[in-house]
C-alpha cells in the first residue's frame, strides 16, 4: 500500500510548540460503538440511555477507554509511526454526551534525552461545549534524524 507517512523528529520540535488542533463530533454512535465495539466495555451507562438515566446521568456518556484512545490517537497521528507513547495520564472532567464536539489540542512542555531515548512531554486537552472533557500529559519517545 503506498501512502505518505509523516514522522516528527526530535530535533525539529521545540518546547512551547503547539500541535495542530483536531475535532471529533461526539454522537451516540461514537459513544456506543467506542465502548462496546472498540473497547469491549459493556457497562450499560455507555450504550443504554435508560440505564444511564437510572444512574442519574442525563444520557449515555463516553467511556474512559475511548477518551484515552482518542487522545492517544490524536498524539500518535501527529507524531508518526516511529514515535512511542511511553506514559500517558488522563483526567476526565465533564462527560462527553451525544450531540457534542470535542476539540483536541496539545503543547510541548518539555524536551530531553534519557537512557538513549529522545523524549518530549506534551500537555493535552479535549474540550467539549460544557468545558474540559479530558486533560493530561504524555511522554513520547521520538525518532532522531541522526
Amino acid at each position: 500500500m503506498s501512502r505518505e507517512i509523516n514522522n516528527v523528529y526530535w530535533e525539529d520540535v521545540q518546547v512551547k510548540q503547539d500541535l495542530p488542533e483536531k475535532s471529533r463530533v461526539i454522537d451516540t454512535t461514537l459513544i456506543a460503538m467506542g465502548a462496546t465495539w472498540a473497547t469491549h466495555d459493556f457497562m450499560p451507562v455507555h450504550h443504554d440511555r435508560d440505564f444511564a438515566q437510572s444512574k442519574g446521568a442525563p444520557d449515555i456518556f463516553m467511556n474512559i477507554l475511548t477518551s484515552n484512545g482518542l487522545m492517544m490517537t490524536y498524539l500518535e497521528q501527529w507524531a508518526g509511526p516511529k514515535a512511542v507513547i511511553k506514559d500517558i495520564s488522563i483526567k476526565l472532567s465533564v462527560p462527553n454526551f451525544p450531540r457534542d464536539k470535542m476539540d483536541m489540542n496539545a503543547r510541548i512542555t518539555r524536551k530531553w534525552q534519557e537512557k538513549g531515548e529522545n523524549l518530549i512531554e506534551v500537555a493535552f486537552n479535549g474540550d467539549n461545549q460544557m468545558g474540559p472533557h479530558a486533560s493530561g500529559t504524555a511522554i513520547i519517545s521520538l525518532p532522531t534524524r541522526g
Binding site: 457497562m43 440505564f51 492517544m72 507513547i85 511511553k86 500517558i88 495520564s89 476526565l92
Partner: protein, 201 residues
C-alpha cells in the same frame, strides 16, 4: 468545618457516612493473575482504529509492519486494558444482575460495599498508563488488579456526593513480560434525588 454556604471542604476529616471498616481489608490486596479471554486479533485492532480514526500503518498495514523493526503488526498500546474487560454477558451479569465473573476480586467486593452504602452511580475519572513493551497482534494478555486507596471522606461533585478509589492494573503478555502498569480512578456517587426524579420520566 463547613464554609458559610454549609459546604464541607474536600479535605474534611473521616465522616460517619459509611462503614469504612468493611473497606479497609480490601486496600492493597492484589487479585490473582487472570487468564486471557482471547488473543489480540487483527479484527480487534481494526475496530479500535475505525473508531479512533487511527491510520498508523504499524496497526493497519501488514506489509509496512512486517518491514518495520517490529517485524509484524502491533496493536495500539492504549488497547491493553480492552483485553481485561469481559464479554457482554459477563458485563450484563455484573452491572445489571449483580453477578460477577471474579467475585473474589477486591474491586468487586469494594463495589458491593459502596453500592450497599448508597453510592450507586459510578464513573471513571482518570487513568495513567506506563507502557514498557509494545502490544502485538497475537499476544495473550494476563492481568492482575487491586485497590490502591479509597477516599475516607465524601467529595462534593457535579454528580452528587461521592467517594473516589484508585485501582492498580498490571498487564503481562504470554511470555510473562510486563507490558503496562495502569492506575484507574473511579468516582462512586449518590445521585441527588432531584436528578433521579428528573430523569425518571
Amino acid at each position: 468545618m463547613a464554609n458559610k454556604f454549609g459546604v464541607l471542604p474536600f479535605n474534611s476529616p473521616v465522616e460517619p457516612t459509611m462503614d469504612y471498616s468493611k473497606i479497609a481489608p480490601l486496600i492493597g490486596v492484589q487479585s490473582p493473575r487472570h487468564l486471557p479471554h482471547d488473543r489480540v486479533t487483527v479484527e480487534d485492532v481494526d475496530r479500535w482504529c475505525q473508531v479512533m480514526r487511527d491510520t498508523n500503518p504499524l496497526y493497519t498495514d501488514e506489509e509496512y509492519a512486517r518491514q518495520s523493526p517490529h517485524g509484524g503488526l502491533l496493536a495500539p498500546s492504549g488497547m491493553v486494558h480492552v483485553f481485561a474487560l469481559g464479554t457482554m454477558k459477563a458485563a450484563i451479569d455484573q452491572f445489571v444482575h449483580g453477578k460477577c465473573e471474579f467475585p473474589d476480586d477486591p474491586n468487586v467486593k469494594l463495589n458491593t460495599v459502596v453500592e450497599e452504602e448508597g453510592y450507586t452511580g459510578v464513573m471513571a475519572t482518570a487513568q495513567r498508563q506506563q507502557h514498557f513493551r509494545r502490544l502485538r497482534v497475537g499476544d495473550e494478555i494476563h492481568w492482575t488488579l487491586g485497590i490502591a486507596r479509597l477516599s475516607d471522606y465524601d467529595h462534593l461533585t457535579r454528580q452528587g456526593v461521592g467517594r473516589k478509589y484508585q485501582m492498580l492494573y498490571q498487564f503481562f503478555n504470554q511470555n510473562d513480560e510486563l507490558l503496562c502498569n495502569q492506575t484507574f480512578d473511579v468516582l462512586v456517587y449518590r445521585a441527588p434525588m432531584s436528578t433521579r426524579r428528573l430523569y425518571a420520566g
